[in-house]
Symmetry: C2
Subunit: 128 residues, 2 copies
DNA sequence: TTACAATATTACTATATCGTTAATTAGTTG
DNA sequence: CAACTAATTAACGATATAGTAATATTGTAA
């Protein structure tokens, strides 16, 4: 019942057996679900706390249909869960591993850009 | 100089300031680079050790042009690095955070599917 | 130099995805 | 019941992406 899993290396980095194509498609689909700025914007808001589609409309200025579709994609992936209450549908983060996932990616990008930046440090032009 | 960074929560999960759209686009692009089964297949092979485009052709049976293009996408993201030696170009994993990234996703998917599976356990049909 | 080999790139088609508008479904209230 | 509201779904056009075949680039060697 706990959300804590025993820490074991899983699939892609295992040295023994590579994932077959079918499994890779599933992993890729998960990455693709995270690979859209609009969805990340919604996720970012839902990381604070659960929100209705309406609230997300107000907070982002995006159309209701568009938001609903993006939320469905995330919910289909099990990343979000829906809770219906009267006319409203409240979405919330169901898969908390996305927090670490986002941190990991942001950390990697941060390091990447800081390396690039160093090449330009103390340089005001190509001829300096 | 070490690849170890100080462990601090970075962007998306920070409670203080949300990432602006421009930054979310960059994060999304990183996820999208991982969001293709063909690229994951190549990554999986490169996780063993560095390989030339040729080797990857032989191991996967995919066309040279296709492989080259996918490797470029990963290299542009800083996920892979290229090393030129004579006529050959060797690719290798440059951003080791993808190991954790893949483990995290595989772990989440594993948990997700095991939950779904439990609904069917000990059930041989809808009428049992 | 010419011939050749490994990669990269271009041009193209097919498919997937995003966002919009309109229609539909589901739930509430008078 | 009809009228209203929130959300989903469908249909569409625009853009992005994957894969292929052909061409270009880069480096080697005769």
């Amino acid at each position: 019942m706990g959300s804590q899993m025993p820490k074991k290396n899983t699939q892609l980095t295992e040295t023994t057996k590579p994932l077959p194509r079918e499994a890779l498609e599933i992993v890729a689909a998960r990455f693709r679900a995270m690979g859209d700025a609009t969805r990340l914007e919604l996720l970012q808001l839902l990381m604070e706390d659960e929100k209705s589609v309406q609230e997300l409309c107000g907070l982002t200025g995006m159309s209701q249909a568009n938001i609903s579709k993006h939320l469905s994609i995330l919910a289909d992936q099990g990343i979000l869960s829906r809770r219906k209450q009267g006319l409203f549908v409240f979405y919330s983060v169901a898969d908390t591993s996305i927090y670490q996932l986002c941190d990991l990616v942001c950390g990697a990008l941060s390091e990447r850009f800081s390396k690039v930046q160093k090449h330009f440090e103390h340089k005001t032009s190509l001829t300096s």
